[in-house]
């Protein structure tokens, strides 16, 4: 089971470290990371493995949202199925 974690906002020192340590806290394994700059917005997409997480997915979603709000970024965690179903036949 995998989820897509996206971070969108102004580029800042330590974003990657904060997000990845939160993932580690929840025992979510980071499988893949891509990073781009879109119209001067920092945009990071992580694929994380959530099959072994030590909390509910909803808890992880909430914690990431909080982290995002504190850092002035939009962080979303969404199950990968939503992207697969929308963009694959």
């Amino acid at each position: 089971m995998r989820a897509v974690l996206t971070v969108i906002g102004k580029d800042k020192v330590g974003i990657l470290s904060k997000v990845s340590s939160k993932c580690a806290d929840c025992n979510a394994n980071i499988i893949e990371v891509t990073q781009t700059i879109l119209q001067d917005l920092f945009c990071m997409i992580m694929m994380i493995d959530i099959s072994q997480i030590n909390c509910e997915l909803s808890e992880l979603v909430y914690q990431m949202q909080q982290l995002g709000e504190n850092a002035g970024l939009a962080i979303h965690v969404m199950h990968e199925d939503i992207f697969n179903s929308m963009h694959r036949i």
Binding site: V4, T6, I8, E32, T34, T36, L38, C43, I45, M47, L57, S58, V61, Y62, A74, H76, V77, M78, H79, E80, D81, I82, F83, N84, S85, M86, H87
Partner: protein, 452 residues
């Protein structure tokens, strides 16, 4: 690996373009609750609804978290209550109160099915239920009502049409101090679908399984944004293609959420309603899509053609995206719930006659339209008859949800707030159809060949 553009497109749709799942509606058959004692019948209804739907709201919220997509409404539709009333007799209001109590217990937004199907005549219970509708809707907050007065196979029951004009007026009058809210919870149908997940017209048809999950999607904002981002100079075929592709993506969300909800609740998955359901929120308007296609304002000449194209493209895209399609499927044009329609009605670009023409090519019918408070019952009945005739002849669902705005005249506005929005009171033709409505009887079913 998923493509970055695809991921960002999905997030953009949800965050900025108001993409959401409009409703997860659980259909519950109450036929097993019929009892000759009305109190026992009400108890059985309460027990069955609270048992079947006890995890509905929680499951919806869980899926919102998992997939990051808002699910605006969790609702229940039930067997038309007139069928239970036929067995029990007694005061139908007891059923309305039992439904209200069950809806509050499970925490759903609405419960639909305070309904009667009278397209070919009145059976036991039908008249009593129809007469009780104003009181039932005034005494409850969650109960929605619908009456089917016509069909392509049966024709139009003009006696019922005559009654419904009076019922609609009465609904408004007894809730005049609450923005005439009862009238906004009552829909009069021709060719009512049995698996519709949308309120206020949802009920669980007699041919449906015991318990089922139906889903209605939304996403006018996404379609409008796709058209706005398209290069200038696309011809209308390319516009249709673009809408189709967008509708496909929107509907896939509904299919995913619906099948997942059904699995978790351990009930069969029924249908996805391929709908473009607007909200008063900025950027979530069907009228704005039509304007994006190239009309100065919704209601201009050309509106019917643009809407026909939009409606058809939404269905074509959606059908491919879902395994089972049903309900009302198409673009909705509720005036008070659509920012673009509200503006068009205020500016005079959009009138009831144009809306009536639009209903011939789109989903449903005259929806959420405020008419002057002194509109006589027979005029409302005649509006219903006209709309039902369009549905009957064209083999499609049509419906009427008009709200006589007590104390207001055309040009004034009725403010509902929330999802129901603001309804500018629209001008109605005042020449009298009283003699026609008073004739009663049945308009015979139309011929299905020699189509001209």
């Amino acid at each position: 690996m998923l493509n970055t553009t695809d991921i960002l497109e999905t997030i953009q749709m949800i965050q900025n373009q108001n993409l959401d799942i409009r409703t997860i509606t659980m259909g519950i058959s109450l036929l097993s609750c019929a009892d000759s004692d009305i109190d026992a019948s009400c108890e059985k209804i309460y027990e069955k609804i609270t048992r079947c739907a006890k995890d509905l709201v929680q499951t919806g919220e869980m899926l919102e978290m998992k997939y990051g997509i808002p699910i605006i409404n969790k609702r229940i539709s039930v067997t038309p209550i007139a069928m239970l009333l036929a067995a029990s007799g007694g005061d139908p209001i007891k059923y309305a109160l039992a439904l209200e109590r069950a809806a509050k217990q499970v925490g759903v937004n609405f419960i639909g099915g305070y309904s009667a199907l009278v397209h070919k005549g009145f059976a036991a219970g039908d008249r009593a239920l129809i007469e009780s509708i104003p009181e039932a809707l005034a005494k409850t907050n969650h109960v929605c009502s619908s009456v089917n007065i016509g069909s392509t196979k049966a024709g139009i029951n003009l006696d019922a049409v005559g009654m419904m004009g009076q019922v609609v007026r009465r609904c408004s009058e007894i809730t005049a101090d609450r923005q005439c809210v009862a009238a906004s919870k009552l829909v009069i149908f021709c060719n009512a679908p049995e698996d519709n997940p949308f309120m206020a017209g949802a009920f669980h048809g007699a041919g449906e399984p015991d318990c089922v999950i139906n889903v209605g999607v939304s996403g006018p904002g996404v379609v409008r944004a796709a058209l706005a981002a398209a290069p200038d100079g696309l011809n209308i075929t390319e516009i249709a293609e673009l809408i189709k592709k967008t509708a496909f993506k929107i509907t896939r969300m509904g299919q995913l959420i619906g099948s997942e909800a059904a699995k978790r609740l351990q009930v069969p998955f029924g249908i996805v309603d391929l709908s473009l359901a607007p909200t008063p929120a900025i950027g979530d308007s069907v009228a704005h899509i039509l304007e994006e296609i190239g009309l100065e304002q919704c209601g201009a000449c050309g509106t019917t053609a643009c809407l026909a194209l939009l409606n058809d493209a939404v269905k074509k895209g959606g059908v491919m995206a879902s395994s089972m399609v049903g309900g009302l499927s198409g673009a909705f044009i509720p005036v008070s719930e659509d920012a673009g329609m509200i503006d068009a009605a205020r500016s005079g670009a959009l009138c009831i006659e144009k809306l009536e023409a639009m209903t011939a090519v789109c989903s449903v019918g005259l929806d959420m339209i405020a008419v002057p408070g002194d509109t006589p019952a027979e005029v409302i009945s005649a509006i219903i008859a006209d709309e039902a005739a369009i549905g009957m002849v064209n083999s499609k669902t049509t419906a009427v949800r008009v709200i006589p705005a007590v104390g207001l005249k055309d040009g004034e506005e009725l403010e509902f707030g929330g999802l129901f929005g603001t309804a500018p009171v629209m001008k109605v033709n005042r020449f009298s159809p009283a003699k026609f409505i008073a004739r009663g009887g049945q308009i015979p079913a139309p011929l299905q060949s020699l189509k001209n």
